[in-house]
């Protein structure tokens, strides 16, 4: 396998472990997203992969070769930095071919490659511009071209979209993904934006406090979160504390029907979670626990409506897509919410509140 493998990698700063117990495989040609909140260690992990930080322990292997001790300038993984880190004293083209120039490539060949890359990122003709003249989106393209110039085996991106404005971000996510697929290059993207991860990645690695919480394709991560943290971090979820009882979960005075409760011993404390688009409001003949509810707030943002409810088990949010229902909901309206038992998730409760 020509991919990247991390075995038991950890990084300690003094007595603090920034990253711990990392065992990951990055298959060749795949785009993996390292996703998590700030401070979860994802950037530290990326920098270790790049060779900019030295792991305190563990091994990094590329196609079976141990590269743990190899310094960054010998690994030559192309990297795009959060601030793009373009050299202000060089032109666009000089930035792009930097790696070629310092490795001794002939000027003609370097220029050729430079032009090809600028073409690839749709910046044809920008070669002689100065960095200061470029917009944010253009700078990102230059950074991408520059990282790819050395034909790296691994392509690393550290929060590549954070310096762009919202509209541009979404367009670039798609563009970057298409580019990556075209080149077939093993890519790792660090991001805190779950939408970005779900848009671009073949595989998502969810991280929290230096540890890997879950690894899997985006749809698995979304529909089958393995713990409360992942459930809360990806998408939105409603959470309730309860105790397993008679094959269901008792939340307060209510016993909820729950398929997942079967996995737990009776009496275990659990957290019940479900996505807002799963419950039904005012529905007849739909299986599942039916709760009385009163509408407290309606948020209509256009394509979706969020209906905030106060129910007998507590407050919750139910989401409807436009066209999914014609019913209108007004504040103060009495209604009933049905929770499908196969859509409810249950996680062990450790005594701490969820995320």
């Amino acid at each position: 396998m020509n991919g990247l493998r991390l075995g038991n990698v950890y990084k300690a700063f003094g007595s603090v472990r920034a990253v711990e117990n990392i065992n990951l495989d990055f298959a060749e040609g795949e785009l993996t997203a390292l996703l998590g909140p700030s401070g979860c260690g994802k950037t530290t992990l990326l920098r270790m992969i790049a060779g900019l930080e030295e792991p305190s322990g563990g091994a990094i292997l590329l196609g079976g070769r141990d590269i743990t001790a190899l310094p960054a300038h010998k690994r030559r993984f192309g990297m795009v930095f959060q601030s793009f880190a373009l050299f202000p004293h060089l032109t666009v083209r000089e930035n792009v071919v930097y790696s070629l120039v310092i490795s001794g490539t002939s000027k003609a060949e370097a220029m050729d490659t430079g032009e090809r890359l600028l073409d690839l990122v749709q910046l044809k003709g920008y070669g002689d511009r100065r960095i200061g003249e470029l917009s944010g989106g253009q700078r990102q393209r230059v950074a991408i071209a520059r990282a790819l110039a050395q034909e790296p085996e691994v392509f690393l991106l550290d929060e590549p979209m954070s310096a762009l404005d919202a509209k541009l971000r979404e367009d670039m996510q798609v563009e970057l993904r298409l580019l990556q697929q075209r080149l077939g290059i093993t890519t790792i993207v660090v991001t805190h934006d779950q939408r970005e991860a779900m848009t671009m990645a073949d595989k998502i690695v969810v991280m929290s406090q230096g540890r890997v919480e879950q690894v899997g394709p985006p749809q698995d991560i979304y529909h089958k979160p393995e713990n409360a943290f992942v459930a809360d971090f990806i998408g939105k979820a409603n959470f309730f504390d309860g105790v397993v009882e008679q094959g269901g979960v008792r939340v307060g005075d209510t016993l909820l029907e729950l398929d997942a409760a079967a996995r737990f011993l009776s009496g275990s404390p659990v957290q019940v979670a479900f996505r807002p688009e799963m419950p039904h409001l005012d529905a007849e003949a739909v299986p599942g626990s039916r709760l009385q509810a009163k509408v407290t707030f309606v948020r209509d943002v256009g394509p979706v409506r969020d209906i905030h409810l106060q129910t007998e088990i507590g407050p919750m949010v139910v989401e409807y897509a436009r066209g999914e229902t014609d019913r209108s909901f007004a504040v103060g309206q009495e209604t009933a919410v049905t929770l499908p038992p196969d859509r409810l998730l249950a996680f062990p409760r450790t005594g701490q509140a969820a995320a």
Partner: protein, 327 residues
């Protein structure tokens, strides 16, 4: 061999793992650098220290020794314990006296100037800085020359005073006698040269641009919106100065005074030209001892050490003050 990152690994200035090139070459360059610095910057001071214990022999020469005679002479006079002469202590006193007045004066006048300049546009600041830096580069010798001409009895300010009738007016009003008391006048006319005032003024003028340069960073980083906020709360300009600006820059102000004070301890040319012979400084007697008329190198070295230690004490004081404020 790879440099281990500090706890703030991500903030390490140079990529810790980028140690690809010859680490063996570095120690040699390091040693060389240390050697150069120690040689050029430290040994001169060590030499002064060592020589200060020597004593003079016939003629202009001297020899190594371990005697404290020079220091004794500086502090209590050569004829101790029969009599105590404070001649050199007096010179030290004047060194301190002139220096402290001049440095305080310079900072007090440079402060409003710098404050105003840092309030101007970036381009204006650039222009002012060019002006200040150019004037700063005017050697002490020139400044003294300039002020000497300006204050000279025959063709400078005193002449202007006489020509415009100011002298007569002063005599009439009775202020002339006060000036005589201050050493600023002869029976016939005002006299500015060789007076304490002229010395202090020239010394102050000498370090004024340095004061501006020292005050420039803290004053340019002063948040003007604080001043505006105070004004919206009813503070007049004087109150703003007293309650907002001064407390914020108190430390840089004192630090500047200290640094300039230390610098002025060593001033030579201005003192020789403008100060009366009886009120000269230790710097002058160092000069005299080492290259001037008295030619007693070890004694000069001893005085230089005294100056050095005095300067060192005040510098250390400054460091201590700033460390206290930072905590």
């Amino acid at each position: 061999m790879s440099a281990v990152s500090e706890p703030e690994g991500i903030a390490a200035p140079v990529p810790a793992a980028a140690e690809g090139n010859t680490p063996s070459r570095w120690p040699l360059a390091q040693v060389g650098l240390w050697a150069v610095i120690l040689f050029l910057c430290l040994t001169p001071f060590i030499l002064i220290f060592a020589i200060s214990f020597g004593h003079k022999i016939e003629g202009a020469s001297w020899e190594w020794a371990f005697s404290l005679a020079n220091y004794q002479r500086v502090f209590v006079g050569a004829n101790w314990p029969e009599e105590v002469t404070a001649l050199y202590l007096q010179k030290l006193y004047y060194s301190l006296y002139y220096a402290v007045i001049a440095s305080v004066l310079a900072v007090i006048t440079a402060f409003p100037f710098t404050y105003l300049v840092t309030g101007r546009s970036r381009r204006a600041q650039s222009a002012w800085l060019v002006f200040i830096l150019s004037s700063l580069s005017l050697s002490e010798v020139f400044i003294v020359m300039g002020w000497d001409v300006l204050l000279s009895n025959r063709s400078g300010l005193p002449m202007v005073f006489k020509a415009t009738g100011l002298t007569d007016w002063l005599k009439q009003v009775g202020w002339f006698d006060t000036l005589r008391d201050w050493g600023l006048a002869n029976p016939r006319n005002v006299k500015f040269k060789t007076s304490v005032s002229a010395t202090v003024l020239t010394m102050s003028y000498l370090v004024w641009p340095y004061a501006v340069i020292l005050l420039y960073p803290p004053l340019s980083r002063l948040d003007r919106s604080m001043v505006e906020a105070a004004r919206t709360m009813g503070a007049g300009p004087w109150t703003v100065l007293r309650t907002v600006i001064l407390p914020t820059v108190r430390l840089p102000l004192m630090g500047s005074v200290l640094l300039l004070f230390v610098f002025l301890l060593g001033v030579y040319v201005a003192v020789t030209v403008f100060a009366e012979p009886a009120k000269q400084t230790m710097a002058v007697s160092v000069y005299e001892a080492v290259r001037g008329n008295t030619l007693n190198a070890p004694f000069g070295a001893a005085q230089a050490m005294v100056l050095l230690v005095t300067a060192g004490i005040f510098l250390a004081l400054g460091q201590w003050m700033s460390r206290r404020a930072a905590s």
